[in-house]
Subunit: 202 residues, 2 copies
Amino acid sequence: MRRRTEYPTALRDLIAQLRQMPGIGPRSAERIALWIVQSKGDRPEQIASALRSTRETVRPCVLCGFFATQELCDICADESRATDLLCVVEQATDILPLEKTSAFRGRYHSLGGRISPLDHVGPEDLRIKQLLDRVEKENFSEIIFALAADVEGEATTNYLVDLLKDKGLNLTRIAHGLPAGGGLESADELTLYQALSGRTKL
Amino acid sequence: MRRRTEYPTALRDLIAQLRQMPGIGPRSAERIALWIVQSKGDRPEQIASALRSTRETVRPCVLCGFFATQELCDICADESRATDLLCVVEQATDILPLEKTSAFRGRYHSLGGRISPLDHVGPEDLRIKQLLDRVEKENFSEIIFALAADVEGEATTNYLVDLLKDKGLNLTRIAHGLPAGGGLESADELTLYQALSGRTKL
């Protein structure tokens, strides 16, 4: 049998590397790799540089876990923000969507995940000790839990509420209910149950 | 008005750079950038390295224009392939799909595009002189045109046929017709016209 014609090894290796990126399948990876090889100018080199320099300069904020280039992120360093409100989220990536609502001007704390025994993630794998330290040192009056509205998010919230319930803080969580624009016919039973039991006065 | 919270500049720059890649929109670019920042291990650095090394090592074959790490690509360097058949394609990326059919075991020549006045691409922008040189030096008996079945592909084929018609070569082009798996009801009028006029004996 004749040998099958293939791309050079360097190109095949690049395609394999690009497939590691989230949302990039074999076709996209090949398309991007061919663009990289065929680009005139130095755009691909600029991307490689941006990738490396981001890896070198962007680190988690030591306080909240959001993306930072200094020790503290822009949110923690912003003295105009309320210091008595803390919003606990699962991931650093949950912070920007909350910020975009402009509904919250306090501080954040990212746990870096949620308790999930099936994925071998226990409380000791999360930034819970750091959260308790902050509760001791900073002067919060309310802690808002903004974790996912699923089993693991709920379990993690409950676990943290247990740890914090005797500290004299208001512990709240974001509302669960019908998503904006969603009709009743497209909502599942649990969502409707939560929408009903969480009904608010008009 | 309060300042809007944003990602650090390095991260926003990385997102902008990633958006340059084909098929990557703002959401994908953000998702990939966050993966790059948050990856444990050195996968992102490996991608940057693969990107750079591919740019350094992969070049167009001097003869046919396919991807090569030596002066000649694997196809042009393969002495077991027929030397009397030449297949002309628009782009180097058209070669691998043709190879996958296993229907052709001759040589290739990539033009690097097609004549397209609207995009300011004229014959002098394509690898046509190199094609004529090869026709003089190599001993082809047939030249197969495998350009796109559209106006510009046709115009480019016709232009090259005019240049080559007095060289005593068989000039052919790949068949136009109904795509495999395609029903008549989903084919456009021109495809059906070409399928009819190109009908073959059974």
